[in-house]
């Protein structure tokens, strides 16, 4: 009885006191906090109750015992799962491809069959040999064409490869200006620029 009374007072306090407080007081808890505190008060009440509860007789049969164990398990795990489901949730979002960063997406594109860079180029040993090895392309790109930065050069190599043909290779690389979206070009460049 006293327990119920104490619980009532605490819960009333949780819900009534903020009515008299302004946000500016810096002490006014919003409704989700009030709900949480109410839950905690309920839990506190349960603990006090359990501390005083009379001893429980041994179960009459093994199946009853097992039912008791199963019940404790279900209430415990079910309770926690429920709590996790009423807590704030973010939405499922984005597959890995969308969520990865530029260089990483670029690397995936580089080794993608539909794009096909790796058919002619190799990076760290994997890929083809019809085009130059690109393992350290970011380092060499800056000095290929005088007055052209590494990024400009790499962009040009993708968009119009024939404007500079690396000896002794043939001029066989197709221009990718029409084949890739600007985002894909950006990702590929980000990847190439990391190959130092």
């Amino acid at each position: 009885m006293r327990l119920v009374l104490a619980f009532g007072v605490v819960v009333a306090g949780i819900w009534l006191v903020p009515l008299f407080l302004t946000v500016e007081s810096g002490l006014k808890f919003g409704p989700p906090y009030q709900a949480l505190f109410t839950l905690l008060a309920l839990f506190g009440g349960l603990v006090v109750y359990l501390l005083r509860a009379p001893a429980m007789a041994p179960p009459k049969s093994a199946s009853r015992a097992m039912a008791g164990v199963a019940l404790v398990f279900l209430v415990t795990i079910g309770g926690v799962v429920l709590l996790a489901n009423v807590a704030p949730q973010f939405a499922f979002e984005g597959t890995g491809e969308a969520a990865a960063t530029g260089p990483e997406r670029g690397r995936v594109l580089f080794f993608d069959v539909k794009v096909g860079c790796f058919l002619c180029h190799s990076v760290q040993g994997s890929g083809g040999t019809r085009g130059p090895d690109l393992t350290h392309v970011a380092t060499s790109a800056g000095s290929r064409k005088p007055g052209m930065s590494a990024e400009e050069y790499l962009r040009e190599s993708l968009m119009s490869p024939s404007s500079f043909v690396v000896p002794p290779f043939d001029n066989i690389m197709p221009p990718f200006a029409q084949r890739l979206t600007p985002e894909q070009v950006g990702d590929l460049l980000a990847y190439l620029q990391g190959l130092e």
């Binding site: 906090y33 008791g68 164990v69 704030p88 973010f90 499922f92 984005g94 491809e97």
Partner: protein, 463 residues
């Protein structure tokens, strides 16, 4: 699940098999540590109960061992079939580690069966038998450390993983932390599983003698579980420190962004474990003659623990992520200004420390009460046995819930900032869904364990 991904996808499948593998592995690695200690204590003290505890627990370990291997095999299968890019890379780069692992696994299995089947044969040579047990533990621990090397590498790889040396990859930024944390957690886990087994046997035994024994066994299981549990926050602290030192993006994701609320739920779980353990001790002390004089201390301890629990759980806000838009006024879903300190680390640290210290205090009181009063084993409030099932249930769930947090800390990466997870079902799973998965895995594990207990101890005894 997003509409384009089916409910039973590669991600969910690997999640279940990997989790079950890890839960059984935790048990078969953690339990033998105190099984050997218990056997040793039995030899030294001549108290037959220690020997029986060691033996019965080892029987469960032997039975669970094949389940561990089964799920380990299933996990490898799914990895190779569905996560080729990742498994190729890992198997190639860690080839010597996996090779050693395979050899040691054979050695461990041999030692395990040797230890178990030579129990009677070596009854006269206890020293030799215990020696085998110690070797079993040593090999088991190395096996775990090897796989922790691969697991921790995925979250905190050294710079340029393609060219790093094997040792740099294994001894990465969080290897030590993970080793320490898992080692302690396995002992806690094993202890609570022993408690569960003892409660199961206590509740289903008719014989007075058996009840007395299983009551005692539950007490020891809880004793081990709580002892390790008290150390666990320290190990967890070291581990998270290592993660945070490695990369600030990960710490933001964990502490301020999408996974922040996961840690509120983790607080609920760990808090309940501490409170549950205290409650068992409270019930257990009732039957000690002269235990009454400890009551007021216990009550006080509960109040301190509850206060710590409340402070631990007050969140900084009720927003699911750093960028989430609140639906109402922002002041309603964030912590009020004057008490903002309650949401920060120092307050949380203090709250956790208070709970740890108070549990340790109760633990010592309880030991004191038991050593000074007379204890009648076998006559205990049934609620205490139910508490002993509550604790393992929570402990397993906590593990099944924190594992995914560790996995998701990598964000969209298989190997952090090196190999992206480009599979279709790659995303952070929301809190509710994650908890449902953890609940599912916990239930599966319990059903399998109940089957092991039942087959090993009820069916075989009737025959």
């Amino acid at each position: 699940m997003p509409p384009e991904v089916s409910l039973i996808n590669d991600r969910v499948v690997i999640w279940v098999v990997a989790q079950l593998h890890l839960l059984f592995a935790a048990f078969v690695l953690g339990a033998p540590i105190f099984i050997v200690v218990s056997e040793y204590l039995g030899m030294r003290s001549g108290d037959g109960r220690y020997e029986r505890l060691a033996r019965e627990t080892m029987k469960i370990v032997a039975m669970s061992y094949s389940l561990t291997a089964l799920f380990g095999g299933a996990m490898t299968f799914v990895l190779v079939a569905k996560y080729q890019q990742l498994s190729n890379f890992l198997f190639q780069r860690f080839y010597p580690v996996f090779g050693t692992y395979a050899i040691l696994l054979v050695v461990e299995t041999a030692l395990m069966y040797l230890y178990w089947y030579s129990w009677d044969a070596l009854a006269k040579h206890k020293g030799v038998h215990i020696g085998i047990g110690v070797a079993l533990n040593a090999v088991g621990t190395v096996v775990m450390f090897l796989m922790n090397g691969v697991g921790s590498f995925m979250l905190t790889p050294p710079p340029s993983p393609e060219s790093a040396s094997l040792w740099q990859m294994v001894n990465n930024a969080t290897w030590t932390g993970l080793n320490l944390h898992r080692f302690v957690a396995n002992i806690a886990f094993g202890g609570f599983m022993v408690a569960l087994f003892a409660a199961f046997m206590f509740l289903t035994s008719r014989e007075e003698r058996d009840r007395a024994f299983y009551d005692w066994m539950g007490y020891i299981g809880n004793f081990i579980g709580v002892g390790a549990l008290i150390l666990l926050p320290v190990a967890g602290y070291i581990y998270t420190k290592e993660i945070f030192a490695y990369n600030a993006t990960i710490s933001t994701l964990l502490m301020a962004d999408k996974l922040a609320w996961f840690f509120v739920i983790q607080g609920v779980l760990v808090g309940l474990l501490f409170l549950g353990a205290m409650y068992y001790m409270w019930l257990s002390i009732q039957r000690v003659q002269g235990g009454v004089r400890f009551h007021s201390y216990f009550r006080g301890a509960f109040w301190v623990a509850l206060a710590g629990f409340v402070v631990w759980l007050v969140p900084q806000n009720f927003l699911p992520s750093l960028t989430a838009e609140p639906s109402g006024p922002i002041s309603e879903v964030t912590i009020p200004e004057r008490v903002i300190f309650l949401g920060f680390m120092p307050a949380k640290g203090l709250a956790v420390s208070a709970m740890v210290v108070i549990t340790a205090f109760v633990y010592l009181l309880y030991r004191q009460a038991i050593s000074t009063g007379t204890m009648v084993w076998g006559q205990i409030d049934t609620k205490a046995q139910l508490a002993l099932t509550f604790l393992p249930g929570l402990a397993v769930f906590t593990m099944a819930f924190m594992g995914p947090i560790r996995e998701m800390a990598r964000g969209e990466w298989h190997i952090f900032e090196f190999m992206a997870d480009t599979t279709q079902a790659s995303f952070l799973t929301p809190l509710g869904f994650t908890a449902i998965m953890a609940g599912l895995n916990t239930t599966l594990f319990f059903l399998l364990m109940a089957a092991v207990f039942w087959l090993g101890f009820k069916v075989s005894h009737q025959g």
